[in-house]
């Protein structure tokens, strides 16, 4: 039963690798947004340091949000999504596979590039480690929740802007916990509570959101 899912995963990854500019644009956006913050608020290293967790997290979730529209829209336009509905595998699993592919293409590069930006914002090595760990747990949540918004705005005019309004409020809990984890380390306490809650949230999202996304896809293709 997992074979079709693997095939779908390989297909999505191949498509993304053939057109690497899509993924690179997201990373570029992440880097540029973070680079703009010091220009806006001044170069004071201590001040930038205290803002760094929030800035990095907000930039990361905006970057993920920008990439969401592409999660289903190409498949929607060329009819692949309708074909997927006919596949005997549960739609929730198919959607989850697409989300995993999406995370590997957009979320993971964000995690990998984040230390570079963190150094620019004067974070210490132990803080950078926690930041990467938090992003590693947190960005899948962003992809999972975002998929619901991507599915609900399929084929709508101005869907990209609408996704922001639908999804960004739901991003508040991972943002609070993710940035909070780095903040905790900065102030000398343990990040474990934040990371545990973030992990719990990821498990819950992993379990629940694919089905909501599948329902949304069905409604929008109806």
């Amino acid at each position: 039963m997992f074979h079709p899912l693997l095939a779908l995963l390989r297909r999505d990854l191949t498509l993304a690798l053939r057109r690497p500019q899509d993924a690179l644009t997201v990373v570029g956006f992440f880097v540029v947004v973070v680079a703009l913050f010091p220009l806006g608020i001044g170069p004071d290293p201590e001040f930038l340091r205290s803002l760094a967790p929030g800035v990095l997290w907000v930039a990361a979730l905006l970057a993920v949000m920008l990439s969401l529209e592409r999660l289903f829209s190409d498949d929607f336009r060329d009819g692949t999504l309708e074909q997927l509905l006919l596949v005997p595998e549960p739609m929730g699993l198919l959607v989850l596979t697409k989300i995993v592919a999406h995370w590997l293409i957009t979320g993971l590069p964000l995690v990998l590039v984040s230390p570079l930006l963190a150094i620019q914002l004067n974070l210490r090595p132990d803080e950078i480690a926690i930041l990467m760990l938090a992003l590693l747990i947190g960005t899948p949540i962003l992809s999972l929740i975002g998929a619901i918004g991507a599915a609900l705005t399929l084929g709508l005019r101005g869907g990209g802007v609408l996704i922001a309004l639908l999804i960004l409020p739901l991003y508040a809990p991972p943002l609070i916990l993710g940035a909070g984890a780095v903040d905790a380390v900065m102030h000398g306490s343990s990040a474990q509570a934040h990371l545990s809650l973030l992990g719990a949230m990821m498990v819950f999202a992993l379990f629940a959101t694919p089905w909501a996304t599948a329902a949304a896809v069905r409604i929008m293709l109806d």
């Binding site: 609900l152 709508l156 609408l162 639908l166 409020p169 508040a172 809990p173 909501a212 329902a215």
Partner: protein
């Protein structure tokens, strides 16, 4: 349904709902005005000043009911949306859509009155405290729901899609409610619980209850009125609409 009881499912038929709502609205509107009049009189004139906060505490007579209604209406809206999505009952879709603007209004009022109360009490209009922030997010959820509903042209698809969104968003409401316990912040803990005696004077408590009831009655009246209009729009080609609109104002 037994023969003798009220046949509730009758009112899932648009025509019957339209007539029933038309008969009920004046009663709820009258109750709204009466309860608001009594509640505001008690709250602004009869109830004593607070020994710490002076008269500014009287804002809670608006603030608490609006905050409660803002949160509760979201749950109610999600429940109607779920009923509409699962059992394909169109009236539930209409009710969910009709509740959204009222819920958003109450949430906005709760934030607004909270800001007005915060200025004399905390010294600032706005603090990024957990409960305020959650309330703000709730407002965004309402706005997202309404925006999605408006963005999809096909009515049935719009109802179904926004129903999914409402059900996803309802996960946020418990976070709002428990945020006071979870995060240690400025906002005071709840003064009224079901299990314990309230920690406020009886007159204040009674006034608050009356104001909550008034907010309830207002919500019912306004939501029913909005649902009626929505029904007329949806069913404008149905015969019952033409019969009623030609036959007078009922």
């Amino acid at each position: 349904m037994s023969e003798r009881g009220i046949q509730w499912f009758r009112f899932t038929a648009p025509a019957n709902f339209y007539d029933l709502a038309g008969r009920l609205i004046p009663w709820f509107a009258a109750l709204t005005i009466a309860l608001f009049a009594v509640g505001l009189y008690l709250g602004l004139v009869v109830a004593p000043s607070d020994y710490q906060q002076g008269d500014s505490y009287r804002i809670i007579y608006i603030h608490v009911p609006t905050a409660w209604m803002g949160m509760f209406l979201y749950v109610l809206m999600a429940a109607y949306a779920a009923i509409g999505l699962i059992w394909r009952i169109k009236m539930a879709d209409v009710m969910a859509k009709a509740i959204a603007p009222t819920g958003a209004l109450f949430t906005f009022l709760a934030l607004w009155t909270g800001a007005l109360w915060g200025r004399p009490t905390w010294g600032v209009y706005w603090v990024w405290d957990a409960r305020l922030t959650s309330m703000l997010i709730l407002l965004f959820l309402y706005l997202g729901y309404m925006a999605l509903h408006a963005a999809i042209d096909d009515r049935q698809r719009a109802s179904n899609a926004s129903a999914v969104l409402a059900m996803v968003g309802v996960v946020n409401v418990p976070i709002i409610y428990f945020s006071v316990q979870w995060w240690n912040t400025l906002h005071q803990g709840a003064s009224i619980t079901v299990t314990e005696a309230p920690t406020m004077a009886t007159i204040m408590f009674v006034t608050l209850l009356i104001m909550v009831l008034a907010a309830w009655m207002y919500s019912v009246a306004v939501v029913l009125a909005r649902a009626r209009v929505e029904l007329l729009e949806r069913e404008r080609n149905a015969r019952w609409v033409q019969e009623r609109l030609e036959g007078g104002t009922k």
